[in-house]
């Protein structure tokens, strides 16, 4: 199990390969990658602010809950902060299990909770200025699935 909060860019493919190689007997590996999308008017960059300390605590608690609820052999969460360019991976979740249903459910759960319970805030910077991304009701509502 690993939780990495970092400013540096990462390669989702290289992380997936390393995660899979380290998960013998898993059989099923699910990954989610969040990518910086362009916006109308052209995104110059995205700024991600976070709450050092609480971020690691909150995500580690989520991963522990996922391990308790599903049969996982391993889990990985990487989330960047700082300045990101369009097309950059923002974050990634990977889960490994003997059973694909567990790997899917745990990755889906981790994403839903990361969206609304991990202390990150995104700001989009365009030629017109900078705007904080608003939280979506749908993201909060998604938590009721679990």
């Amino acid at each position: 199990m690993a939780v990495r909060i970092q400013e540096a860019a990462f390669g989702a493919g290289a992380e997936l390969d390393r995660f899979t190689a380290d998960a013998p007997g898993a059989g099923a590996v699910v990954s989610f990658t969040g990518v910086v999308r362009d916006v109308d008017g052209g995104l110059r960059h995205m700024l991600i602010e976070h709450y050092p300390g609480m971020t690691e605590r909150a995500i580690t608690a989520l991963v522990s809950e996922a391990k308790a609820r599903w049969n996982l052999t391993d889990a990985l969460v990487i989330h960047r902060f700082g300045q990101l360019a369009p097309g950059d991976p923002i974050m990634m979740v990977a889960t490994a299990s003997a059973h694909r249903a567990d790997a899917f459910a745990a990755a889906d759960f981790l994403m839903d909770y990361l969206k609304s319970r991990a202390p990150f805030w995104k700001k989009e910077v365009t030629a017109d200025g900078a705007d904080w991304v608003a939280a979506k009701d749908a993201d909060e509502d998604a938590l009721s699935r679990w």
Binding site: G53, R57, A58, S116, F120, K123, W132, A135
Partner: protein, 81 residues
Amino acid sequence: MDILYFAWVRERIGLPRETIQTEAATVADLVAELCAREDRYAAAFADVTALRVALDQELTGFDAPLAGVREVAFFPPMTGG
């Protein structure tokens, strides 16, 4: 007590963190005390339903007691992932 501000709360108040002496019993009491200090606090806390609060890095509600708490953080709903 350390008070931390993030995202647009930080921008409206104009600083990321400060240390204050307070007798406030709850988060709501602390918010009222800060709002009484300066307009920038009143602006940031105008609608607390748009805010979240964490005590010692755990999310909680505005009615939570502050006894024993070392770190209070105010921020908008999170938008990670």
